[in-house]
């Protein structure tokens, strides 16, 4: 059902999932060279995951709530958690696909090389980052029932966590007094995990663990607060 819905928005979906990543790689790789290319590529992947999890997922739930479809699903005997989880998975599949496409373009253009183990680590990092981002998205959707407010907050959060966090630049250049703040941002963990995985570094698994713990903490809060129709 969700895939059929996506069909109605095929042009926009293809543009954002396929064309935009390609355009980004082409456009920015001209001005970003050397080791910094890893920050560009991983940053774009984090952006994809953050937008899907923290913007698309909560807004999709917000619209479903606004249009009474969460109530409709409950009345049909579908558990709310199952419905939101399916919606979340579909959105994340697009984000992960888009992230891998970015990698494909970058590799094809010989901007970077990724080993097989690196690819495995990357897929793992994208999965846990999607989970974490979606939990942040679900938290917002569970607390903010006003759709207008939800739309505004999620835009600020998704873009804020993409550009005001060490995503496109190293954590090491963040001023010491801002590091605790950076460590509160979910994208910090996702960005390190994804970037290190591109380099094939097993250290990415440590950041994966941090990402999972972050996601589980948020998921527990969401579970306690409950998601209501």
């Amino acid at each position: 059902m969700f895939f059929k819905e996506a069909k109605a928005w095929l042009a926009a979906s293809l543009f954002f999932a396929v064309m935009l990543p390609i355009a980004f790689v082409f456009g920015f790789s001209y001005i970003v060279r050397g080791p910094a290319i890893y920050y560009l590529i991983s940053g774009m992947m984090v952006f994809d995951v953050a937008v899907a999890g923290m913007l698309v997922v909560p807004n999709s739930i917000g619209w479903d709530r606004e249009d009474g479809r969460l109530s409709l699903m409950i009345s049909m005997g579908v558990p709310l958690w199952a419905y939101t989880l399916t919606s979340t998975l579909v959105n994340n599949l697009f984000a992960i696909g888009s992230g891998l496409l970015v990698l494909g373009v970058a590799v094809a253009m010989r901007y970077l090389d990724v080993s097989l183990s690196g690819l495995f680590l990357l897929i793992l990092a994208l999965l846990v980052s999607s989970f974490q981002g979606s939990m942040v998205g679900l938290l917002m959707a569970s607390r903010i029932r006003n759709l207008r407010l939800l739309q505004q907050v999620t835009q600020i959060v998704a873009f804020g966590f993409s550009f005001f966090a060490p995503v496109y630049f190293p954590l090491s250049i963040v001023p010491r007094y801002l590091v605790p703040l950076a460590m509160l941002e979910p994208t910090t963990y996702a960005a390190q995990a994804i970037r290190l995985s591109l380099r094939g570094s097993p250290a990415s698994i440590i950041w994966d663990l941090g990402t999972v713990v972050y996601g589980v903490v948020i998921a527990t809060i969401v579970g306690r607060l409950g998601l209501k129709a």
Binding site: E5, D67, L72, M76, G77
Partner: protein, 273 residues
């Protein structure tokens, strides 16, 4: 056995009491309407029937069981208030997936969806995206989603709100057809003529049940006066039942005597609430 049974249901939102000791019953093959002003608790009551809300006090049973039991909800069809079908799906897909999420296998779901779309007069629109439909057709699609799996119990929360007279009449025909098939139907509405035209029984509700009965019983019970229209002078008089004969005898020319409508009875009951 009652299809829907509510006993002593109470619900509050903070300090606001939404429902107070409400009891009602809908029997199989019966269409019962719930009438009340905005904020009377109709939707709160309905949300208990499909387990969106849990009772603070009291008991809610559908088909003899707790509606939070998924098996019970699979035997129900509900159109929650202000719910919209999926605009990005076609009419057929909305109805088809409504069957699929209830666990009906693919081929069977397709067959049931096609049959439902045909029965509810949506055949010519089956391949159109719902976002392109009129309000009436969207509502009808929602009803189709509620009935596609042949439920024994239907709960419709203000299904005709916002429809033009034509759209409302079309939906009435659908409801009469469903009732004729022996389903138990609970309908909430603001429209008195709708309740009068469709219902076997009516509940007046404003946080608690104020009156209950068939439309004619209610009119009879609360008919303390008649309206006498003097057609010669165009004046309307409210005359007590025991004074009607004497009153009309004094009139010269043509006149009309009317019992109060359900709407007048409703206003009278709500005024005293």
């Amino acid at each position: 056995m009652s299809a829907i049974e509510v006993k002593g249901l109470s619900k509050s939102y903070g300090k606001v009491v939404a429902l107070e000791d409400v009891s009602l019953e809908v029997r199989k093959g019966e269409l019962v309407s719930l009438l009340g002003p905005n904020g009377a608790g109709k939707t709160t009551l309905v949300r208990h029937l499909y387990c969106e809300l849990r009772p603070e006090r009291g008991v809610v049973k559908v088909l003899g069981s707790d509606p939070c039991d998924r098996e019970v909800r699979l035997r129900m069809g509900v159109t929650p208030q202000e719910a919209q079908p999926y605009g990005d799906l076609t009419v057929f897909d909305n109805v088809y997936y409504a069957a699929r999420v209830r666990g009906v296998p693919g081929d069977k779901a397709r067959e049931m969806a096609l049959d439902t779309v045909r029965r509810l007069g949506l055949w010519d629109h089956r391949d159109r995206y719902v976002m392109d439909l009129s309000g009436g057709l969207k509502r009808r699609t929602l009803v189709a989603m509620a009935v596609v799996h042949s439920p024994e119990v239907l709960v419709l929360d203000e299904p005709t709100t916002g429809l033009d007279p034509m759209g409302r009449r079309e939906l009435w025909d659908v409801l009469r057809q469903l009732k004729g098939e022996g389903r138990a139907i609970l309908l909430t509405t603001h429209y008195m003529e709708e309740a009068e035209a469709l219902s076997d029984r009516v509940y007046f509700i404003n946080r608690k049940v104020l009156a209950e009965g068939t439309p004619s019983e209610l009119r009879k019970r609360f008919a303390f006066y008649y309206e006498v229209v003097d057609l010669e002078e165009g004046k309307v008089y409210k005359v007590r039942e025991d004074e009607v004969k004497e009153f009309v005898a004094k009139l010269r020319g043509k006149f009309e005597v009317r019992a109060p409508s359900l709407e007048e009875v409703y206003l009278e009951v709500m005024k005293d609430a």
